[in-house]
């Protein structure tokens, strides 16, 4: 009975099926919110699903001179890592796997797709792919650190690296975003950089380098990469909601899920707002903003938190 229950959790709720469905819905929320902000009507709710199915049904081309097996393997590994990370982040007030230090493991698992993207760009002998791959690696080096610093503040305050404990700590006093707005901003920008969203989307700047590391990928591989990006977005937002926005801080289970869902959608809307407001930064500005602005601010926040807490 117990194994069956665990299996159900892994595959259905809040595991695989749930993660993929919600990731698709969230991708729609993103596009719709952007469209509304721009005064457009926007795509219908099934749009991401249609995109995914269509890509799955398209011809899958291999590029001459690249390693076909590796090219097929990379998106699978990336998707697997993103989904595993999804198992650790709390959905409502329940995560499938929860242990001391799961925040770090989630972050690590979330960084695997970025490395996969870099490799996917690197193995194809095309300028666009290579440039895109390089830029995505650069972004990886720049924005992983602010994200970690931003998330370390609340962890230092609550003296735990466990997501569930971080959430319950917030229902005991107040949301971390109120105590550490700077850390929240740093972590949000780190997340935007990690997800390669506008204004930090240099790795796939359309007007400069085509579709970046994915320029030469089509069909099933492209579908998996897209899905990976959507799941990554969901997991990243889950993480932020749990660490900074109090997660599901209501006692009853159903209410908790509703509160959590509202927060996730709201945060996604916020990211869409940033996307609508700002244009893409140049590559050097991307690196500069991270190391000159975000990292010092994040360190400062962390130092103040540790000092106040001691």
């Amino acid at each position: 009975m117990h194994t069956l229950l665990t299996l159900g959790e892994l595959l259905l709720f809040p595991g695989l099926a749930y993660l993929v469905t919600v990731a698709l819905l969230l991708a729609w929320v993103d596009r719709k919110a952007l469209a509304v902000l721009q005064g457009r009507v926007g795509p219908p709710i099934y749009q991401p699903l249609a995109d995914l199915l269509k890509l799955l049904g398209k011809e899958d081309l291999d590029t001459e001179g690249s390693d076909a097996r590796l090219a097929a393997l990379l998106p699978m590994i990336s998707l697997a890592c993103a989904l595993t990370a999804g198992l650790m982040t709390p959905v409502g007030n329940h995560a499938v796997i929860s242990f001391e230090g799961d925040l770090m493991v989630t972050l690590f698992l979330l960084s695997v797709p970025t490395l996969g993207l870099f490799l996917a760009g690197w193995i194809v002998p095309s300028v666009y792919n290579m440039l895109g791959g390089n830029r995505s690696l650069l972004q990886y080096f720049c924005y992983e650190v602010p994200l970690l610093l931003g998330l370390a503040g609340p962890a230092a305050l609550a003296r735990t690296w466990r997501l569930a404990a971080l959430m319950s700590a917030q229902s005991a006093y107040h949301w971390h975003v109120l105590a550490m707005p700077v850390g929240f901003a740093v972590a949000t920008l780190g997340l935007i950089g990690k997800l390669e969203r506008v204004p930090l989307d240099t790795p796939h700047a359309k007007a400069e380098i085509g579709a970046g590391p994915l320029t030469e990928y089509s069909g099933r591989k492209l579908a998996l990469w897209r899905l990976t990006a959507w799941v990554q977005t969901l997991v990243g937002i889950n993480l932020m909601v749990a660490v900074y926005l109090g997660g599901a801080d209501v006692v009853w289970p159903y209410w908790g899920f509703g509160v959590y869902a509202v927060k996730v959608v709201g945060y996604m809307g916020g990211l869409a707002l940033v996307q609508a407001l700002y244009a893409r930064l140049r590559v050097d500005q991307v690196a500069e903003m991270s190391w000159r602005l975000l990292v010092p601010l994040g360190l400062l926040q962390l130092a103040v938190t540790v000092w106040m807490g001691a």
């Binding site: 596009r31 457009r40 749009q47 249609a50 995109d51 398209k58 666009y128 007007a207 320029t215 492209l222």
Partner: protein
């Protein structure tokens, strides 16, 4: 399975735009279609940057001898199933450039064209109608 796939294809056409030698008039009209006023994202239409991501190749302008090779290569890079739309009088027939010494003529001289959109430049409404009609036949 077939039906699911057809449903998905109809609702998610990604467009690649190539100017094979036009005057830029039709290109601006094509970009118009993405703006709030016409907003083709309603129909799931997105403009893609890479040929390998595209479903529909939208070609503007007559084919010059120079752009013949790139156009062919782009077309061959698009994964099956794929369609070509000729945008503007030039792409339909060569228009006033037809018969010129460095011109091949309309897009149908080189590629199988699924839909023609006349006009110089073509109107956004006509573009949307053509794309919607094309989606109907998928």
């Amino acid at each position: 399975m077939e039906r699911v796939l057809r449903w998905a294809r109809r609702r998610s056409p990604w467009v690649l735009h190539y100017n094979s030698g036009g005057c830029n008039g039709c290109d601006i009209e094509l970009l118009d279609v993405l703006t709030p006023r016409w907003d083709v994202e309603r129909l799931g239409i997105v403009k893609e940057a890479a040929p390998r991501h595209a479903d529909i190749l939208v070609c503007t302008g007559p084919i010059t001898l120079k752009s013949r090779e790139p156009l062919l290569r782009i077309y061959e890079q698009i994964p099956e199933p794929k369609w070509v739309v000729a945008l503007g009088a030039c792409a339909c027939s060569g228009s006033l450039f037809g018969g010129s010494y460095h011109m091949l003529g309309g897009v149908d001289q080189l590629l199988p064209v699924a839909r023609y959109v006349p006009g110089c430049p073509c109107r956004p409404e006509a573009i949307i109608t053509a794309l919607a009609e094309l989606l109907e036949t998928i």
